[in-house]
């Protein structure tokens, strides 16, 4: 008999069983099922449940598991559950939490509850948390745990081994012990695997890796994630401005940053807040999404006011009105392709001052090539459909102009937004489609007015 082999259908099955048990009011059965699950699995079930089932499930879970489950949830859902908890229950739930998760939860609490939770902690925990809260969100400091085990360079490995056996336990996800001098500056690190395989008569200095790189506590979280990805790190030491060791970041927290940043870009490009809960309440979701739709209404009215300038032309030629959506549509798609490429490049740290000009040039060239190609195709399509060669020529000309603009705007807009510290994933798409809609309509209706009127 071996360990459990995971079945890909397991979660789906459990979710179905739970939903059925909930539906038929078998609450004791549900409580037992939840009790036997890992906190991360309970979190998944909560994330996947509609609001009403969630409330019931949340009442049925073990009080002792509440903290660990909260750690695993998305922001919107976590905030919703926290806001309904009493300060006592919160203090109980947060008792064993990692510093970084606890700091997140405290940050989101109203002032009075915050102080109540803080009061109920041991003074040591309170000190740790207050330190964690002093680092800004989205920096290395906010991802840091302070439970590092440190060594001195001149100790022998057999002394280290005896010390560890006495200590009896290492913090979760420890792959390396850091070596520091008297002033707490990091000299290197000793991997657990090297402790196990080296000759115990050697000293820490002989075994330690001095090529270790430390991360400054104020480095932005997304740069920390890029470094972990690039170097395949499991953990990294965090230092202050005097190179003194403050704590460590582990890969499991970095994975969350990578996932959140990627979600942020994907959701942001579609005009969504990445904290939005998939199974959240209808009215709240509607209002969260309305900012984007408001901006889009203005953009659509702007495009309509461009058409309005050519009212005479539209009055005389209904065919122009019929065809006028094609050029903006193609420009929008081509521009969005470039935009997605540039936003990914920024996220991966591939785009900087030295190559952004080259990149804009390249996308402009693709835009021109696209322009020629699609001008010819749309010319042919319209000529075949409407039989008017002049009209076909006009739409082809507008296509050439708009596709070129789309290439330039798709690369230029995110780079300009980034310069002004505006998130290109959030604002880029809306600015871009406004440009391609306005230029597309202006080019087609303007050419039509000039040549047909």
């Amino acid at each position: 008999m071996g360990v459990e082999v995971l079945d890909t259908e397991l979660t789906e099955q459990r979710l179905n069983q739970l939903t059925q048990a909930l539906g038929s009011g078998m609450f004791v059965h549900v409580r037992n099922m939840l009790h036997d699950m890992a906190p991360s699995d309970v979190a998944l079930i909560l994330e996947s449940s509609p609001p009403r089932s969630r409330q019931v499930l949340w009442q049925l879970i073990d009080q002792e598991q509440a903290g660990e489950i909260l750690e695993e949830l998305g922001e919107d859902l976590k905030d919703a559950l926290i806001s309904n908890m009493t300060p006592e229950r919160l203090a109980q739930a947060t008792a064993g939490m990692d510093t970084d998760d606890l700091a997140y939860i405290l940050r989101s609490l109203p002032d009075t509850v915050y102080h109540q939770v803080l009061q109920s902690m041991t003074s040591q925990d309170r000190h740790r948390v207050e330190q964690a809260l002093s680092y800004p969100d989205d920096t290395a400091g906010s991802l840091m745990n302070t439970d590092t085990v440190t060594l001195r360079p001149d100790v022998n490995i057999d002394v280290v081994l005896r010390y560890l056996r006495q200590r009896g336990h290492l913090p979760d996800a420890t792959d390396m012990l850091y070596v520091v001098d008297r002033r707490d500056q990091v000299l290197g690190g000793v991997r657990l695997s090297d402790l196990l395989t080296c000759n115990p008569s050697m000293s820490v200095r002989d075994v330690m890796d001095i090529e270790l790189e430390s991360i400054p506590v104020d480095m932005p979280a997304n740069e920390v994630a890029q470094l972990f990805e690039r170097h395949d790190w499991m953990s990294a030491p965090i230092v202050d401005s005097d190179a003194k060791l403050l704590g460590r970041i582990t890969i499991d927290d970095v994975v969350d940053v990578i996932r959140e940043n990627a979600e942020h870009d994907m959701m942001g490009m579609a005009g969504m807040d990445d904290a939005e809960d998939t199974f959240g309440p209808v009215v709240k979701s509607t209002f969260k999404r309305s900012l984007w739709l408001t901006i889009n209404l203005f953009a659509a009215l702007l495009a309509a006011s461009v058409s309005n300038m050519f009212e005479n032309t539209l009055e005389q030629f209904a065919t122009i009105a019929i065809l006028m959506t094609i050029v903006p549509s193609m420009g929008g798609v081509a521009g969005n392709q470039t935009l997605a490429l540039v936003i990914r490049g920024i996220a991966l740290g591939h785009i900087g001052q030295s190559n952004s000009r080259w990149l804009i040039g390249k996308e402009l060239a693709i835009g021109c090539l696209n322009g020629v190609m699609w001008a010819v195709l749309v010319f042919a399509a319209v000529w075949l459909w409407k039989g008017e060669i002049a009209l076909a020529g006009l739409i082809g000309g507008a296509m050439l102009i708009n596709m070129t603009v789309a290439g330039l705007a798709g690369a230029g807009i995110p780079l300009i937004l980034k310069k002004f510290n505006i998130d290109p994933a959030l604002a880029g798409g809306m600015v871009l489609t406004t440009v391609t809609d306005v230029i597309g309509l202006f080019a087609f209706l303007g050419l039509a007015t000039a040549f047909l009127m």
Copy 2:
């Protein structure tokens, strides 16, 4: 003197220095700079360089580093560099590679080169690689390394410690040794940290974690990634259908899967191939992107043919033509918000049979609410602008219809596509905007024709 503290501007600076040195033909200097960098940093520089600099840089790197650098590159760029290498150089570069990376490279080679590279390997390496190649891409097997260290349950820890010291080295990213029985079935795992802190007179059986979960070798890679994320694993054992240990997957390979899947969704929604190289050649990029634009041209012509059905209405009322882009535009944005939410939910494993009907209902409700809200607003805007209450009422009615359809389609389309095993991130956006464009135009022009003509 401590270890190097990373500076966030470092890569940017180095890239600038390299570009300058390349520009002034200081090739020996460049070669020395490259020699001193970690392979992952050289990979970043290659990814961030225009094609011409890349060719020169690639010539200047250490032959010995070539393999490690290739491992770190994106697919498009990796393929381009590999296709220009001689079989001898390839065999040399791939000598020390991880099995999973080597399998990737071999998969992408033409048959003749493939056999030449395979011939030049030691028979042990060849066996490992041939096994890795037998697992389909995008499954646990393709991410697996076979360099696992196993223990027997009845051995004492001090024997294990002696064995490890004799062995002298553990594979990279080893955080746990697996315990297997005679038939190689996994019984549990012993963490390195527990080996260091436990009493050496205990047996492996006393120390091992039996709650360990194994992953079947044919589990899809994205499900493996979900499990790692959810359980904060550093590594996991991979087993065959008889629960026999085949190898292990480590978090660094999973991070790549998470990143690639997230990129795939983000780029896919914008109609881009996620393998596309940011600084790749113009003509190749143009053709790669043209499939999406072709489909969009058909969608735009379909929308135009809807307008064409209402040619008479458009002939009589130029104002209708001016306003007709507003409703499709708002429907497209609202639908895309829902689409992004559902695609993320699918990626995170939150959406299954038990809750998809509820989700469609929720998004339909948001669509209705949106419809009422934006109908009122666009009614007010158009009434103020054009002063025609009938026209304002018509566009409001069309908005109500299209926003409701957008909510339904935004949730329904990705779920239906998923049922038919079509990637919703790739096809969803195009199908959705076609629906919202066609319905939006049809509703507005149809209502206008019915009430004004």
